[in-house]
């Protein structure tokens, strides 16, 4: 991580209050184990235990854009210690305050939002700030709705990408928090990350380059009802009995008679269905990243037979431990799953790489700020490891009249492959393919990195013309492709490469 990057993630002044008591994290039963009603209640979030939590957004008076008062803040004793507690702001359906909207620096990049995240936010505050960031981003961030919850709350999504070109044609990183953990600060960390990313665009050229190569999808509360329920005493019995987000996905699902909270059928929780449809409709998603509590980690790495060997290598390569107070990145093979979770579906049914960012227990004060910084570093690091294929011409030769040979070197600069082993097995989407236009492709070959000879590869009729199925590229891998084609002199031929996990690329070559 460069010093420049580190400088992006400004340490934030934090104003978290000590929590009056510790709340247990959601319990997850082992596979096949029958969970108890108590476990379900824990998984739903013990809302009343959260009631002491304060603070949220602090105005930043010095920054451009003016002072932004925290929404709905009221001096209302919460825990008998004279502290204040946030009151729900105006509904999100109302227009967002004119916060930084449209503001930009002299180069047209968005300026920093006029607030920083210093502690727990209500769900509505989270949604409101997410919308505000999109509105003030000069097109770098777009607010989208994945759908609505059972109680009518919106599942907000912030899509951050370089504005030119479709965001869906770049490899995507989906970073989310569900919101059921009473002690969780994942939503706040995601909002803080979004704010810092957008604020750094004006000064960080490498970040702008990165966001031209990848798309970051941020969802701070995928279960806004559960998140809201943890904010006050409204966690009544009916809410506790409702379907649990991470038990209602189809892979490894068990009926609620066996796993309380799993629902009568998978995906009967609208939030889960919305997420599944999002995953299925975005073939460019490479990584699903969730904020996790310590309880979700395996005691030892699981030998889940569903995890392909090469994918397991990727998980290990990217897993990173960085001190107790910083964010720790773990791969899915180290995350506990009883089945029916979002990661089960994301990996097994879609082929995404699931990762978790671990939030240490009892985060407060400066430790929370340090963790926010760690989250920012890890997300950026992960973003840089998405498949990023570069290519260059390494040879051009005339073989005969109107017959030419073009050699092109491909290199994956990311640590993640051009498609996971699971996604390849699913045939859900293409791996890398290259088509040639402006000439008749006669033959093609490829040479592995370090090899001397080329090996012929079949020329296929692809949906968009004739071409080759280019080699699958593992992280950091390079290959050379050879194309033999016929065309008249003076013609410009174009090689186009495409894959859902790789940003489309093109090489033009004028035939002399």
């Amino acid at each position: 991580m460069s010093a420049l990057v580190v400088s992006l993630f400004v340490l934030l002044a934090l104003g978290l209050q000590d929590e009056a008591e510790e709340s247990p994290a959601p319990a997850t039963s082992e596979q096949g184990e029958v969970a108890t009603a108590e476990q379900v209640e824990e998984a739903q979030g013990a809302g009343e235990k959260q009631a002491e939590e304060t603070k949220k957004v602090e105005p930043v008076r010095q920054e451009e854009g003016g002072e932004i008062p925290a929404e709905g803040e009221a001096a209302k004793p919460a825990d008998g210690q004279g502290e204040t507690r946030a009151v729900a702001p105006a509904p999100t359906s109302e227009p967002a305050p004119a916060l930084d909207a449209g503001s930009s620096d002299e180069f047209g990049f968005p300026t920093a939002a006029g607030w920083t995240v210093t502690g727990a936010l209500t769900t509505e505050e989270l949604q409101l700030r997410t919308r505000e960031l999109a509105a003030s981003s000069q097109g770098w961030a777009k607010y989208e709705s994945l759908g609505t919850s059972r109680e009518g709350r919106e599942l907000g999504l912030l899509v951050i990408a370089e504005p030119s070109g479709p965001a869906g044609e770049r490899p995507g990183l989906f970073f989310f928090d569900v919101g059921v953990n009473p002690d969780g600060r994942g939503g706040e960390a995601i909002l803080d990350l979004a704010r810092d990313l957008l604020a750094a665009l004006g000064t960080d050229a490498s970040l702008r380059t990165l966001l031209g190569d990848v798309t970051v999808y941020l969802a701070p509360a995928l279960d806004p009802d559960a998140r809201s329920a943890r904010e006050g005493p409204a966690a009544d019995a009916a809410r506790r009995r409702r379907t649990v987000f991470d038990r209602n996905f189809p892979v490894g699902w068990r009926p609620s008679s066996l796993r309380p909270g799993a629902g009568d059928v998978p995906l009967d929780k609208p939030e889960c269905m919305a997420v599944v449809q999002f995953l299925l409709s975005h073939e460019n998603l490479v990584v699903a990243l969730e904020v996790l509590s310590e309880e979700r980690l395996q005691a030892a790495e699981a030998s889940d037979p569903r995890i392909a060997v090469t994918d397991r290598i990727v998980f290990r390569a990217l897993t990173h431990a960085d001190g107790a107070e910083s964010a720790r990145l773990v791969g899915w093979s180290a995350i506990r799953s009883a089945g029916g979770g979002i990661f089960d579906y994301a990996y097994v049914a879609c082929g995404l790489f699931p990762f978790g960012l671990v939030q240490p227990d009892a985060l407060e004060g400066e430790a929370l700020g340090s963790w926010f910084d760690g989250v920012g570093r890890e997300v950026r690091r992960l973003g840089e490891e998405l498949p990023r294929v570069s290519w260059r011409e390494v040879g051009f030769e005339r073989l005969a009249t109107n017959l030419w040979q073009l050699d092109v070197a491909l290199e994956n600069r990311g640590a993640l492959p051009s498609l996971s082993a699971t996604a390849r097995a699913l045939h859900r989407c293409d791996d890398l393919r290259v088509t040639l236009e402006g000439a008749r492709l006669v033959a093609a070959a490829r040479r592995e990195s370090g090899a001397r000879d080329f090996v012929a590869v079949p020329v296929r009729a692809l949906p968009k013309g004739f071409g080759v199925e280019a080699p699958h590229l593992e992280g950091g891998e390079s290959r050379t492709l050879r194309f033999v084609f016929e065309t008249a002199a003076g013609v410009e031929v174009r090689l186009r490469g495409a894959a859902p996990w790789v940003r489309p690329f093109e090489l033009r070559r004028s035939v002399p």
Binding site: Q31, G32, P250, V251, G252, W253, R254, P255, S256, S257, L258, D264, V265, P266, L267, M273, V276, L280, P305, R306, G339, V348, A349, T422, A425, L426, H427, R428, C429, D430, P458, R460, A461, L462, P463, K464
Partner: protein, 573 residues
């Protein structure tokens, strides 16, 4: 179209069965012993879903049948269903429901015929129908898959959901073809060192490849590599087999099964599930398959799969299998096999697995057809030892192999019905072999012996409906000593089948509650007691209450049970 194929798909003339109530009432005993009343003149014929309205018009004469609105399939075909039951005050929607599904696998057109036959059998016997049961019949539960099977004899049961199976951006571009122009789309073998099958000793049939096999084959439906990608039939027309689209042990595209993007993604599967959840579904029979008997829940054995059936229900399923043999005259099974065993391998996302494990219904697959049914009067030989384990492979729409099938083919059909493997040019210098079972041989019976396959099914359904658990309050003692009342009661089940099938929990079990007036006061005992299970012809533990009750007041005992109408008994101590 080849003459053979043409003749195989001639639509049978509709046999409209008048279902006016019979003049004389029949006793239950009569109904159980009476022979089925399929039309004798022509025998049963395969009927398509396009005939549903005419059939329903005939059934209307009974005065018992109502049509259900269940929506349409992915291909726009109506999901036709009716409900019926004995006359009575309790609305059909509130009674215990007996679900009859035909051909959910999209292959078993005989399953559709079975549901139609059972429906007609029951409607002809209104006086024999239990008054507390509603029958719901959905003969063509997979309308798209069955329509394709009717029309082509292939398709693997997929519905009309357009899916890009191979992820190449094109949809349904590489499906089966009649490569040898014989009018049939059968099976294709391609020699490959990684092949999973080899030829059995009887060279017509296949077995799983073993170490040392010199020739191994890839086995698939007959067809070319239409899109030139080096694979065969990897993106055929249609998308999802509905009987892999249910939630329990569902496996998506990673498994290779056409199971949909998520469970209940398909409108017909969703409609059936919603209906089952909305009703008091106690029994669900899915008529399909060619294993010839009953199959219990338990279609998947992959690591992590929910193991079904639960141990506590094995005795129940054995009882049901024995009863099935008794009533239908089919060969007696030692025990009802699981769906995995009956189907010869992994069969994930099956409806009966969900109906059983999620709703607690007695859910079974009824294999209409099988190699021993048509020869049951003879000695139905068992497969040779070395073949018995190896040849029990099957899959919807592709390859059924067993020594029993070979025996059926040779003994009853003179070998007609199987096309020997013939070489075929695959292009690019490659060759394969085309052959296999002809339509209406092993997946569905030839039409002329359809009646034998359907025999006794109506009687079995009726017997099962009568034997359903019907818990009753058994009042043991009501004693008053001044203002103090002692009341003892229990729950008894006078019928043969147990209550509390599937995942056992007190919440889903039998409950007996004492309802006291405000003037009373409970001194001893719990207001409500619940049991997760009540055996067939069994009784619950005794419950004893002591309460203070003014003279002249009454109390009530309330009995609740899953999928049963609650009962309330007034007690005047």
């Amino acid at each position: 179209m080849h003459e053979l194929l043409t003749s195989a798909f001639v639509l049978a003339p509709l046999v409209a069965v008048s279902l006016a109530p019979p003049a004389r009432s029949q006793t239950d005993a009569d109904a159980q012993t009476e022979a089925p009343t399929e039309p004798k003149a022509t025998g049963p014929r395969y009927r398509e879903s396009t005939q549903a309205e005419k059939l329903f018009a005939g059934w209307m004469g009974s005065g018992l049948a109502e049509k259900l609105e269940l929506g349409v399939s992915a291909g726009g075909r109506e999901l036709f269903g009716i409900q019926f039951g004995a006359g009575g005050a309790t609305p059909l929607a509130e009674r215990t429901t007996f679900l009859l599904l035909g051909g959910l696998d999209g292959v078993s057109i005989a399953g559709s015929e079975a549901v139609l036959t059972v429906t007609e059998h029951l409607l002809l016997r209104p006086d024999a129908l239990p008054s507390d049961v509603t029958f719901i019949a959905i003969p063509w539960a997979n309308p798209d898959g069955l329509a394709r099977w009717y029309a082509t004899g292939c398709g693997g049961g997929r519905n009309d959901r357009a899916i890009d199976d191979d992820g190449d951006g094109a949809i349904d571009e590489d499906g089966p073809d009649d490569m040898d122009s014989d009018g049939l789309v059968l099976e294709l073998l391609i020699e490959d060192e990684n092949g999973t099958v080899a030829k059995a000793d009887d060279g017509r049939f296949l077995r799983p490849a073993r170490e040392g096999d010199m020739r191994r084959y890839l086995h698939m439906t007959e067809g070319r590599d239409d899109d030139g990608d080096g694979r065969y039939n990897e993106d055929p027309p249609g998308g999802v087999v509905l009987d892999h689209n249910f939630p329990v042990n569902w496996q998506g595209a990673w498994s290779g099964f056409p199971a949909g993007s998520w469970p209940l993604s398909e409108p017909c599967a969703r409609a059936i599930a919603d209906l089952a959840m909305a009703r008091k579904t106690a029994v669900a029979l899915v008529f399909q398959g060619s294993h010839g008997g009953l199959a219990t829940p338990g279609g998947s054995r992959v690591p992590g799969a929910l193991e079904l059936p639960f141990d506590g229900d094995r005795v129940l399923f054995e009882r049901l299998a024995r009863r099935f043999s008794e009533v239908t005259g089919r060969a007696r099974a030692e025990a009802a096999p699981t769906l995995y065993d009956a189907r010869g391998g992994e069969y994930p996302g099956a409806a009966i697995d969900w109906l059983y494990a999620s709703l607690g219904a007695i859910a079974l697959e009824v294999g209409i057809w099988g190699p021993t049914i048509h020869v049951r009067s003879r000695t139905a030989g068992r497969p040779e030892a070395d073949e018995a384990s190896a040849l029990a492979m099957s899959g919807p729409g592709l390859g059924v192999f067993s020594a029993d099938w070979a025996r059926w083919l040779d003994d009853t059909r003179g070998g007609m019905g199987f096309v020997d493997w013939q070489p075929v040019n695959l292009g690019k210098g490659e060759f394969g072999y085309v052959g296999g079972w002809m339509p209406r041989t092993c997946f569905n019976p030839p039409e002329e012996i359809l009646g034998a396959a359907l025999g006794g099914l109506g009687e079995y359904v009726l017997a099962l409906a009568k034997e359903l658990a019907r818990p009753e309050i058994d009042l043991l003692e009501v004693a008053r000593d001044g203002r103090v009342v002692s009341l003892r009661a229990r729950v008894q089940n006078p019928t043969a089948l147990a209550l509390g099938v599937g995942p056992r929990s007190a919440q889903r079990g039998v409950g007996l509650a004492l309802e006291l007036p405000e003037s009373a006061r409970l001194v001893a005992g719990q207001p409500e007691t619940r049991w997760s299970f009540l055996a067939g012809r069994g009784v619950s533990p005794e419950v004893h209450w002591v309460f203070v009750l003014p003279e002249g007041e009454t109390v009530h005992l309330r009995l609740t049970a899953p999928e049963r109408v609650p009962r309330r008994l007034e007690v005047r101590p």
